[in-house]
Symmetry: C2
Subunit: 245 residues, 2 copies
């Protein structure tokens, strides 16, 4: 069978999926990114069930979202996703987000690894490489940087993740790190500023009922670096690039 | 044109939509309920755009979820939804949730009102009644009770809703009340107990950065009543019925 090296998923943005700015929230957008990756992996025969045969599961390691604008309420939009490269350690998967007319409004880069669900250590992707044929669609945004420890704390929030923040793997859900990071700011701030780019490195998993520090370093007027740490372990590093609306 | 008095929506449950018990979370399930209502309303010509012409929007007022079991990871399931009744004040919409074989695994009852988005007061549904033709599919679960103030506090949590909890209407998202209520318990509790029924009355909207009390009264071994209040205003009342797994 000929496996499709890319798929296009059509979406309609409901009011229920929007935040106060009448756009898709970054968290729901990230969920759509994961959904698109999941859908294509299933079609390619490297979905949840296949990886479980190897006691493995996909884990999102890096993510960059770079948008001219985010979809707005009652708008049709689409995700096109493809694998850019794969090796035994990780797979690079990109996405193009288009408006109703088919014009790109932004791009996404992701890096996925597989972990052994018992040991939580990286698993070898070799059994799946044959299914992950690369496509050559252009993705004109920079690769996700490896983010460094923040050099200074401009702001700090103590936070405890709870039951409703936890996922299938009994750790904090990918999207909840993003939400907790954005909670430094209020509705009025996001009325003035939009996120033009968001980079995140998922490093170690945080757990339910565990206290973490969310630390912010304001790099310049537009860029904020963020780190979520529990005791001496860094769970996540992120970089937010803001633009005035 | 003949408008369908019910629609069936097929779903596949991805790992990303599951909580630690490998089932759909109550919050994501509630989102699917809202999605199904939205999809059918759009088909019937009484969706977001049509109500906005009247400066109105649908608001969920009451919700009951009564499940023999919730869908599990990698399972196909479906939502069938129909309007049971409509009058100028509110619309009763029900849902049947079926497994892959078409056997019901649970039911949902919802009550929707329209509000004027400027005054936030109830709007008249008369212009839309013609589109909301009732169906007679059986919904063999009790109607959502009007929940009374809790009589005593067994437990209390102080909580502040933040930016990421807010929705399109700039108030706290429907699903976030549910998540904050469930956060009294931890992963191990939900390993032992499942929610067999969940009732909620949405009364007044909570806002971003507003401190609320989440108060619990343990009615008996299986039933817990909950109230979310800010100062003297009750925002939400809920009743959770647990069953041992």
């Amino acid at each position: 069978m000929d496996l499709p090296s890319n798929i296009k998923i059509d979406h309609y943005l409901t009011a229920a999926e929007c935040g106060p700015q009448q756009e898709i929230t970054l968290s729901t957008f990230t969920q759509r990114v994961i959904d698109a990756a999941t859908a294509h992996a299933n079609i390619l025969g490297v979905g949840y069930n296949r990886l479980m045969e190897h006691n493995s599961a996909w884990v999102l390691s890096r993510l960059s979202i770079d948008m001219k604008r985010f979809p707005s309420v009652a708008e049709n939009y689409s995700f096109t996703t493809w694998v850019e490269s794969v090796n035994r350690h990780f797979s690079e998967r990109n996405m193009k987000i288009c408006d109703e007319s088919g014009a790109p409004i932004g791009y996404v880069r992701t890096i996925w690894v597989a972990i052994d669900i018992t040991t939580r250590r990286p698993a070898d992707l070799t059994p799946f490489i044959g299914n992950l044929k690369a496509d050559t669609i252009e993705c004109p945004i920079e690769k996700t940087p490896r983010l460094r420890p923040i050099v200074d704390k401009s702001f700090n929030i103590e936070h405890t993740f709870r039951y409703s923040d936890t996922d299938f793997n009994r750790h904090v859900n990918t999207t909840r790190y993003i939400e907790s990071i954005l909670n430094r700011w209020n509705i009025e701030f996001f009325d003035k500023y939009r996120i033009s780019r968001f980079d995140i490195n998922y490093i170690a998993e945080a757990r339910c009922d565990e206290k973490v520090d969310i630390s912010y370093f304001d790099v310049d007027d537009n860029i904020v670096d963020v780190e979520i740490t529990r005791e001496d372990t860094c769970c996540t590093r992120a970089r937010i690039t803001f633009a005035e609306r």
